[in-house]
Symmetry: none
Subunit: 175 residues, 4 copies
DNA sequence: AATGAATGAGAGTTCATTCAT
DNA sequence: TATGAATGAACTCTCATTCAT
């Protein structure tokens, strides 16, 4: 699953072959099918892996006492991944974009669920801060993240994330 | 080219076959190769088509006297496309995400160029308004657009664009 | 189609690969799919080919003036094919047996239709002879043909068809 | 062995996987290979199972005093299995047809042996009745059985077996 | 310019068989 | 004996690309 998540992030779901994942996981191609009956199941596994990583991250952030600090730390984490984002984009965002075109397996909804998870966590931080329209604020923050990831990736310029990250942190402080 | 742009937007570059485009353009498969030597050239043509549409749009907006009004009108245009975005995402943004994974043909830079075009036009509006850091503001605005398009698409909810669009317009008015 | 019919008869539908048929038809594997979208369609084509051959045969027999002579000639034709039957069985019968187990493609009914065609032609001969229960007689004659084909094939003994063929001809004369 | 016999009868030897048989026998896939070294051995085991069932049947029929009555009882038994025959054909006949195309393992002769067993038993009944050419009569009776099984199966009509069964019983009485 | 067929390289998937435990 | 995983060779099917006409 880890191999699938990584290779799919780097090559994209469509361009990733089962052989690619098998090689990354150091197993035989045929053996992959012992655990995942179809390629769709493998992609779903990659998504679950991303969910797991997201939950680990938010779990760690939850240990911070101040919700505002949690959000700022989240943004700092994003910026810290800027080189990866410049090269391959946001794992969840790019996967969501691809899976949207892969309607047959019913995977198109799954990526949305992971993003929803992030949105909900962010909104709950804003809620804890007693800010009005926490859901709208979450949309703005997560949207800004997805947007700057995409621009960073498309223009291959990690500095975009630094600049926008700073802006987001300043913005969080004004709320 | 128009057929390529539309089908590629709806199905994604990877999942679109030459046969799909040929059918949409109502020509024979073999004949496509008389005009485009490779599939990459077809995808490039789709990008050019998007560039053309962007230039048409900014050309029209340029007729408005006030740069701020131009930007607000641009946002309104985005929101007007919300149903398309919910179904298929931003044509340029999703294509950029896909082409990033398609390095061989050298197409990965091309999508960035189209986005750069939009960024430049937006920045020049901010510059005309004598605002500080027009490039940064452009990054923020276009980033917000890409972000809300992706969320709208991933969650299949056009209302996200309405809400974020309103926020962007209000933001433009505060500058 | 002719290649498909022959190879499928000799190797069976399951053991015949598209490559086998392509080789027999002297075309490229991929090209087969230009004409037949799936393997099931190829097998169906083989069935159509058998139908065509059956219609050619009955068409020729119809030129004989006496219905009884037509039937006797049919039996003689079967016996004439005894070596082929000993090696590969009756093309339609063996295919019907295999397709019965291949329910997914909906091919299981198709083989029955070809057999029904033969039954109907035979019955109409008996009807022309003003014999009672022509359908039952057809069932007996065609059943005897399928039975002796199967035995001949299973025991690899063409003589079985000679012996049973003689008996059937004698039987036809007693009616 | 019983599981193999049943599943192979229903799905055909080619379409039956070791996993299918293992599931039917409620054992692990790998464990099947502790008892049967190859798939061919499993199919052979299915054949042996059919032989066993045939011997049980003839053993019971042998308890009847009159050979003619034994044969009539045999036919009645066949007709009693008409629904199974309509769905899956005669176990031995369909297997013989399939195995004929599976030459490598040398199984093609094995199915013939089972049929030969039946032929011999039937012939010995005719011999006991002092009828001329008992082997020829056996061929006719068993051939009729295989033929009506195939037709019943191909046309999915159990009534065929009722009708032909009646005819065979009447025929036995005329001898 | 257009047509329809041909080519050939891969991709996903299945499955008999093996093997360590 | 039993288990569960691993292996690897097919096989079906897809598709970008080429080509003769």
């Amino acid at each position: 699953m880890a191999a699938a998540a990584q290779v799919v992030h780097q090559q994209g779901a469509e361009r990733t072959t089962i052989a690619d994942i098998a090689r990354a996981a150091d197993v035989q191609v045929g053996n992959v099918y012992y655990y995942f009956k179809t390629k769709d199941e493998l992609v779903a596994a990659a998504l679950i892996e991303h969910t797991r990583q997201l939950e680990t991250l938010t779990g760690e952030l939850d240990r911070l006492p101040d919700p505002r600090e949690r959000l700022k730390s989240l943004v700092r984490g994003w910026v810290g991944q800027r080189d990866l984002a410049a090269r391959y984009g946001c794992p969840t965002g790019t996967l969501a974009t691809e899976l949207d075109k892969r309607a047959e397996g019913g995977l198109d909804k799954e990526a949305g669920k992971v993003i929803r998870l992030l949105l909900d966590w962010v909104a709950s931080q804003f809620r804890e801060l007693d800010l009005p329209d926490p859901d709208g604020l979450a949309l703005t923050l997560v949207g800004a993240y997805q947007g700057m990831s995409l621009l960073t990736n498309a223009l291959r310029d990690p500095q975009i994330m630094v600049k926008e990250g700073d802006r987001l942190i300043a913005w969080l402080d004004t709320l």
